[in-house]
Amino acid sequence: MKKNITRIITLIFITQALLSSAYLIIDSNGTPIQTEVGFGNAPVIDGVIDVTKNEWNSAKKLNVSLFQDLVNQSDGLPIDLWILQADLSINFLVRFDLNDHSSSEYDNEFLGILIADWEDSLNFTDAKIVQFSNISESSMQYLDYYIDDEEYNEDLKSDGEGLANLEGNEIIYEFSIPVENTEGGTEDVELEHGVRFDFEIVFGKSAIYPDGILISNILSIYLEFPPGAHPQPIGELIMSISTIIVFATLGALYVFYIYRITQLKKKIERIRS
């Protein structure tokens, strides 16, 4: 009997160890940076921050790095990443410096935003890319792709917009991606309010996807409802109510138990006297 119990405990520990290691492996595939959004008016997508119009003023401003290997993150390219949610779009601004940025080495530079599918963390199926064909002449195009099993296929209908502007060695990429857009079709990930999506920022120097992607980083962004329209998602509401019910019940049971202890103490004292 005792031997069996020992075996059961050992088995439980082994199962737990396996479960824990699986959990660690899932997380080490590149833990997305969890972030919120800033709210504001949709900016003009032109690769220029218009200070006179307070453009991007209310954006969520992050300093992140793009890495070659997301598991062993080292020697990354630091970028300024601004995220601004407008009523019906999510806007990204990426700014960084590179030495000799206007040189021919960067002629085919691109920066893209990959979007993971609904409820499918890290499975990126949609790509919005600003691709240069000649950086010194500022010739570029905005590309909208859908990703099917690592294969990039151009969308029949391009959604969103993107542009970049190089000044000296500093470049600014701006993207606008529609939210609550039901006409995107099956080629686009339909972004919706009240849902968390994973976005991957990718950078490369040659127009081949995905082989040309040199560095990247992943963000997990919760698309909030715009201010003034804050319907709490039903799932979250149920969770909040459940939390209150569960912990209130536990608290009530605990108070009842304390009451029983005091009653028992009184009873013992009465018997003693």
């Binding site: 005792k2 660690l24 997305p32």
Partner: protein, 138 residues
């Protein structure tokens, strides 16, 4: 009248012994109950996510957050088991399987918001219960 003198000291100590045990058990019920309550409050705050300890998404901090949440629930279970066990002993009945199951469920339900915390808590509680069972058997 009896010719043999009664050993009063012996009978006194025999009487006093259960009293001392009773007092110790009673103190243990209260103290463990209070500690259980402290961990329940901590659990409401942390497992109910009214208070967030770490906001970082780094694996280290996420793991630490999970460990703290699990440990708080385990401590709650541990102290409540001691307290209710002694309480039952004072009432003259041993703690039965139903009560253990109830404390088990009340502890486990505290982790319902986080599936990882839930799975770890479930496994740990199971190990503790099996351990108690083995100790009782031996």
């Amino acid at each position: 009248m009896s010719k043999i003198r009664k050993d009063t000291t012996k009978s006194d100590s025999l009487k006093r012994k259960p009293k001392i045990i009773e007092k110790t058990a009673s103190r243990s019920v209260i103290l463990s109950g209070i500690l259980g309550g402290v961990f329940l409050v901590l659990s409401i705050m942390i497992n109910g996510e009214y208070f967030i300890i770490f906001t970082s998404d780094e694996l280290l901090w996420v793991s630490l957050d999970i460990i703290i949440k699990v440990i708080i629930i385990l401590f709650f279970f541990f102290f409540m088991m001691i307290s209710i066990g002694n309480y039952k002993e004072l009432t003259g009945k041993p703690i039965d399987f139903k009560i253990i199951l109830l404390i088990f469920l009340l502890s486990l339900i505290q982790s319902f918001r986080n599936s990882t915390v839930f799975s770890f808590t479930f496994i740990c509680l199971l190990v503790i219960v099996v351990y108690f069972y083995v100790v009782q058997e031996s």
